[in-house]
C-alpha cells in the first residue's frame, strides 16, 4: 500500500500554522508535506525497509540495510518486544514453580523447573514471585549449582547473533541433567542480542526518528500514576477526543496526496496504537498491571486481532499476555500469544510455560461448558 501512495507524492507542501503539539507531529508532517515524507524514506534506508517497518514486520526490516534508521529502530522495537516476553515468561515460570507444592504436593517438581526457576529468579529480581521462590527454595534446600545454569541461552549468548538465537528458539532444550524443556531465558537472550547490536546514539533525528512512532508526549497530558482502570480509561478517552478532532482537521486541510497517506496508511490509528503501547509498557514496568492490560487492549485493532499489522505490533500482543499473567488472568494470556507463534518461535516456549501455569491453576477445578 505504502508503495502506491508514495508514487503520487509529488505535490508542493501545504503548511497551515501549527496550533498544538499534534499539528507538529510526524503525522501532520507526513500529511502536509508528502514530498518530504517521500524523500525521507529514500534517504533513510529506502522504501522497502520503511514499508516493513510500517507493517511492524521488524524481522524483515532487520534484514535490510544494516545501520539504517528503520533497521536500528526495528532492533530497538525487537528488544522491547523480547523484554515484554521475558516479563511474561519469567513471572509465569516463577509463579508455576512457587505454586507447585501447593497444587501438586505428591509430585516432585521436575528438575528443569527447579533449575529454571532458580536462574530466572536471579535474572528477574523484580518479578513478584521471585522473592517467594528464593525463600521457599532456600527453606526447602532446593537449588542447583552454577553448573546447571550452563544450558540456558542467556548464559551462552556471548556474541551470538539474534538470528542464530531465534533459529534455536523453536525447539526445546535438551540437557543431560535437566531433561527436555523450553529454555525460559531465550527472550532475555534475544533482548540482549538486539540491544548489543544497536548503536549507542538515537536512531536518527527529526522525522526519520519519529515516523510511525508515538505521538508527542505533550499530547497526552498528565497520565494517571495509579493502577485505576477508570482513570486510565478517562485519560485514553480524552486522548481519543483530541485525536479525532486532529484527524478531521488534518484531513480537511490536506492535499489529495496528504489525504491518501492519512487514510491508506492509517496514520492516526498507527500513532494512537504506538502511544497506547508505550503507555502499556510503562504501566507494566511500574507494577500497574490492570492499566497495562487496558492500554494494550485499547491499542489493538480488534477487527484484525489475530494478525500483526500496522496497528497491531508484536509488542501489543506480548503486552496483553504479560499484563494478563500479572493480573492473574493466565488462560487469557495465551489467546494473545497465538498470533505470534508462527513468526516468533521464541513465543512457543513462553506459551508452554504460561500454559503449564494455566493448567496448574485449574488442576482442582471442575470445568463448565455451555452450548453457544
Amino acid at each position: 500500500m505504502i508503495f502506491f501512495v508514495l508514487a503520487a507524492c509529488q505535490q508542493a507542501p501545504v503548511v497551515p500554522p501549527a496550533a498544538e503539539p499534534l499539528d507538529v507531529s510526524w503525522i501532520a508532517t507526513v500529511v502536509r508535506e508528502p514530498s518530504r515524507f517521500s524523500s525521507t524514506l529514500e534517504q533513510n534506508g529506502g522504501r522497502d525497509a520503511w514499508i516493513a517497518f510500517h507493517k511492524n514486520d521488524w524481522l524483515n526490516v532487520h534484514g535490510t540495510v544494516a545501520g539504517s534508521v528503520p533497521e536500528r529502530r526495528s532492533r530497538a522495537e525487537l528488544a522491547a518486544f523480547e523484554g515484554v516476553l521475558w516479563v511474561a515468561e519469567s513471572e509465569a515460570l516463577l509463579t508455576l514453580a512457587d505454586g507447585w507444592k501447593a497444587h501438586s504436593p505428591d509430585t516432585p517438581a521436575p528438575k528443569w523447573l527447579l533449575a529454571s526457576a532458580q536462574r530466572v529468579a536471579e535474572l528477574n529480581r523484580d518479578a513478584p514471585a521471585a522473592d517467594r521462590w528464593r525463600a521457599a527454595a532456600a527453606a526447602a534446600g532446593v537449588g542447583f549449582d552454577a553448573e546447571s545454569a550452563k544450558p540456558f541461552a542467556v548464559d551462552q549468548a556471548d556474541g551470538a547473533a539474534a538470528d542464530v538465537l531465534r533459529g534455536l528458539s523453536g525447539v526445546p532444550l535438551e540437557d543431560e541433567l535437566l531433561g527436555r524443556f523450553w529454555d525460559p531465558t531465550r527472550p532475555l537472550a534475544l533482548q540482549r542480542a538486539y540491544r548489543s547490536g544497536a548503536a549507542d546514539e538515537p536512531a536518527g533525528v527529526g522525522l526519520p526518528a519519529d515516523l510511525f512512532g508515538t505521538l508527542p508526549e505533550s499530547v497526552m497530558g498528565e497520565r494517571p500514576s495509579t493502577d485505576d482502570v477508570e482513570a486510565c480509561r478517562t485519560f485514553s478517552q480524552a486522548m481519543d477526543a483530541r485525536l479525532d478532532a486532529f484527524d478531521a482537521r488534518l484531513a480537511g486541510g490536506a492535499s489529495a496526496d496528504g489525504r491518501a497517506l492519512l487514510s491508506d496508511l492509517r496514520l492516526v490509528a498507527v500513532g494512537r496504537s504506538r502511544t497506547l503501547t508505550s503507555l502499556a509498557l510503562d504501566a507494566l514496568l511500574n507494577r500497574r498491571g490492570n492499566c497495562a492490560l487496558f492500554y494494550a487492549e485499547q491499542a489493538l485493532d480488534h477487527a484484525a486481532s489475530r494478525e500483526v499489522s500496522p496497528v497491531n505490533s508484536p509488542t501489543v500482543f506480548a503486552l496483553i499476555a504479560a499484563a494478563n499473567v500479572r493480573t492473574g488472568h493466565v488462560r487469557e494470556a495465551l489467546d494473545a500469544l497465538t498470533a505470534l507463534r508462527a513468526t516468533y518461535p521464541e513465543t512457543i516456549g513462553v506459551i508452554e510455560t504460561i500454559g503449564d501455569l494455566a493448567v496448574q491453576q485449574g488442576l482442582d477445578r471442575s470445568g463448565v461448558s455451555r452450548e453457544n
Binding site: R331, R365, S366, V368, S369
Partner: protein, 510 residues
C-alpha cells in the same frame, strides 16, 4: 423497496425498545433464557442470567482465584476427604427468608439426584455426601482427596424452601419466579420476551462490597444478530454480550462503544450421531469430512481459527501436531466406495438407498443458517443429499438432548478456562451428543482428571485431542473472535472471561 421496509421496521423496533432510565442497563441476547434454574443450565444466555440472580459458596475474585461468596470460611480435613464450610450469617434470600445450611444440602442433593437429571450433575460428582452441621455450617465428604475443594464449590445455590421435594423438575414453577441471593432479583418476564431485573437491596457481596451500582437491568431478546450492533450504536441498548466478528470494525471506530474480549474458548462443530447408521462407519464420517471445504464455510461469517480437535488453538491442551483432514473430494469418493456406496446419476447410494444426511441446527445459532446452507451446498455438489432441520428451543431440547434423534448436529460448545471436555467425549457423558465410545479416550480423560500435576494433565489431553480427531465423532470447524461491547456510559466495567456479569455489581451508569 426492501431497504425501505427494513428501515421502517428498524425504527419501529427502536421505538418499542424505548429509552433507558439513568441507572438502567439494557443488554441483548439472541434468545431469552428458556429456563431460569441453575440446575438445568445449558446455554450461555442462561448462565448470564444465573450470574445476576444467584450466588455460590465460592466465586472468582478479580485475579480469578476462588474467594468465599456465600461461604464465610472452610476447613479441610488432614486427609482432604472432608471439608466443613461455615456459611455467612448475614445473608437472606430475595424473599427475605434466611440463607442456611439446608439450602446448600438441598442444592447438592438435587444436583446429584438422577431423577432431577440436572445438566450440572457432573459438577457435584466429586461430592460423595453433604450434611447440615448447624444452621450455618455444612460438611462435605469427597469421593477422593481434594486439595482445594473451594475451586469446585462454585455452583449456584438454590433455596430449599422454594421446592416442595426432590427431585427438582425443569418445569417447576421456580423457573418463572426464581429466588436467589445474587445482586439482582427477577422482576418480570415481559410480553416482548424481555426480562426485567432490579437491584437486590439485601445483597451482600464479596469483600464487604454490598452495593449494586446499576438499579435495573433489562435483558432484551433481539433474535436478529445483525441488528444488535445497530441497536447499540443507536443507544437503544447498552451492552452486547457477543459481537459478530464482522461488526467489530464498525463498533471499534465508534467512540461511544468499548469492546471487551470475552471468553474465547468456543468452537463450532458438525457432530455425527455415531449411534446411527451410516454414521457409525468411520469411512462415511471421514468421507463427509473430506468433502467439506471448511475455510470456505468460515469465510462469510468472520475471522477465526480453524481447529483440528476439541480445543481452541490457544489452549494448553491443543495438539499442534495434529493435522487436519484435507479437503479432498476424490479421496472422499474413494472412501464412500470402500464403504459400499455407488455414485449414480442422482448421487451416492447403497443397497438402493440414497445417502441422505439431515443436518439439525438450533434456530438461534448465530450465523447458523449461512453455515448450514453452505454445508448443504458443498455436500450436495458431491452427490450427498442433505436435509436441513432448523429447530426452535423446545424442539432442540427434545430432539437433540432428550431423544438424540438426529444425523448431524451443527452447534457450538463454549468452555470456561478449564476447558473440560469430559462431558462431551467420555462414554456416556451427559453432553456426549455424538455418542463417542472409545476406551482409549476414556482412559486419557481419566488420566487427565486424576493428574496430580500440570505437565501430566497437559500431556494426556494433547493425546486425547489427537485420538478424538482420529475417531472423527465430529467435523471440528473453527473458533471465532469473541467480544462483548458496552456503551462508554457504563463505567467501572470488568468482564469475567466466562460468566460476564460476575463482577457487574461494581458497574455504574454514567
Amino acid at each position: 423497496m426492501i431497504r425501505f421496509c427494513f428501515c421502517l421496521s428498524g425504527l419501529a423496533a427502536l421505538a418499542m425498545i424505548g429509552s433507558a432510565s439513568a441507572s438502567q442497563l439494557r443488554y441483548a441476547e439472541d434468545q431469552a433464557p428458556a429456563t431460569v434454574n441453575p440446575l438445568f443450565t445449558t446455554s450461555m444466555a442462561e448462565t448470564r442470567v444465573n450470574e445476576l440472580l444467584f450466588g455460590a459458596l465460592y466465586a472468582d475474585d478479580h485475579t480469578l482465584a476462588s474467594a468465599p461468596q456465600l461461604a464465610e470460611s472452610g476447613e479441610l480435613s488432614t486427609d482432604r476427604l472432608h471439608m466443613t464450610v461455615r456459611l455467612r450469617e448475614d445473608l437472606n434470600w430475595q424473599d427475605g427468608s434466611p440463607f442456611t445450611a439446608k439450602d446448600v444440602v438441598f442444592t447438592v442433593k438435587a444436583m446429584k439426584d438422577p431423577a432431577t437429571a440436572s445438566t450440572e450433575a457432573g459438577r457435584a460428582a466429586f461430592i460423595s455426601d453433604v450434611r447440615e452441621i448447624s444452621d450455618h455450617s455444612v460438611q462435605f465428604d469427597f469421593v477422593r482427596p481434594e486439595l482445594r475443594p473451594e475451586d469446585r464449590l462454585t455452583f449456584k445455590i438454590l433455596p430449599a424452601a422454594a421446592f416442595p421435594t426432590l427431585p427438582v423438575k425443569r418445569t417447576d414453577g421456580f423457573r418463572l419466579a426464581p429466588i436467589g441471593t445474587g445482586p439482582w432479583s427477577l422482576v418480570k418476564f415481559n410480553d416482548d420476551n424481555s426480562v426485567s431485573f432490579a437491584a437486590n437491596p439485601g445483597f451482600h457481596g464479596m469483600d464487604g462490597r454490598d452495593d449494586v451500582g446499576i438499579a435495573q437491568i433489562t435483558m432484551k431478546e433481539v433474535a436478529d444478530k445483525n441488528y444488535q450492533a445497530k441497536l447499540l450504536l443507536y443507544e437503544s441498548i447498552d451492552a452486547l454480550v457477543r459481537v459478530l466478528p464482522r461488526d467489530l470494525a464498525m463498533l471499534q471506530s465508534n467512540r461511544k462503544v468499548e469492546l471487551y474480549p470475552y471468553q474465547t474458548n468456543s468452537w463450532w462443530y458438525a457432530g455425527f450421531n455415531m449411534d446411527r447408521a451410516p454414521f457409525n462407519d468411520p469411512k462415511v464420517r471421514q468421507a463427509l469430512t473430506e468433502m467439506l471445504d471448511v475455510p470456505d464455510m468460515l469465510a462469510p461469517i468472520g475471522t477465526g481459527d480453524l481447529i483440528t480437535g476439541p480445543y481452541v488453538p490457544s489452549s494448553p491442551f491443543y495438539n499442534h501436531d495434529t493435522k487436519p483432514f484435507p479437503h479432498d473430494p476424490d479421496a472422499a469418493a474413494a472412501l464412500l466406495t470402500a464403504a459400499g456406496y455407488q455414485r449414480g446419476a442422482d448421487g451416492w447410494s447403497k443397497g438402493g438407498r440414497k445417502l441422505t444426511v439431515t443436518v439439525s441446527a438450533h434456530r438461534a445459532l448465530e450465523s447458523g443458517q449461512e453455515v448450514t446452507i453452505n454445508l448443504q451446498s458443498q455436500l450436495q455438489a458431491q452427490g450427498v443429499d442433505v436435509v436441513i432441520d432448523f429447530l426452535d428451543e423446545a424442539q432442540w431440547r427434545q430432539q437433540v438432548w432428550k431423544d438424540r434423534n438426529y444425523d448431524v448436529v451443527l452447534s457450538q460448545w463454549t468452555f470456561d478456562r478449564n476447558e473440560d471436555i469430559r462431558e462431551q467425549f467420555y462414554s456416556g457423558g451427559r453432553r456426549n451428543l455424538t455418542d463417542l465410545k472409545d476406551p482409549e479416550v476414556d482412559r486419557l480423560l481419566d488420566a487427565a482428571r486424576d493428574a496430580a500435576d500440570p505437565i501430566s494433565r497437559k500431556a494426556a489431553l494433547r493425546q486425547a485431542h489427537q485420538r478424538i480427531h482420529d475417531d472423527m465423532p465430529m467435523v471440528f470447524l473453527w473458533t471465532l473472535d469473541s467480544y462483548a461491547a458496552l456503551s462508554t456510559a457504563v463505567r467501572g466495567v470488568t468482564v469475567h472471561p466466562f460468566s460476564f456479569f460476575a463482577w457487574a455489581p461494581e458497574w455504574r451508569m454514567q
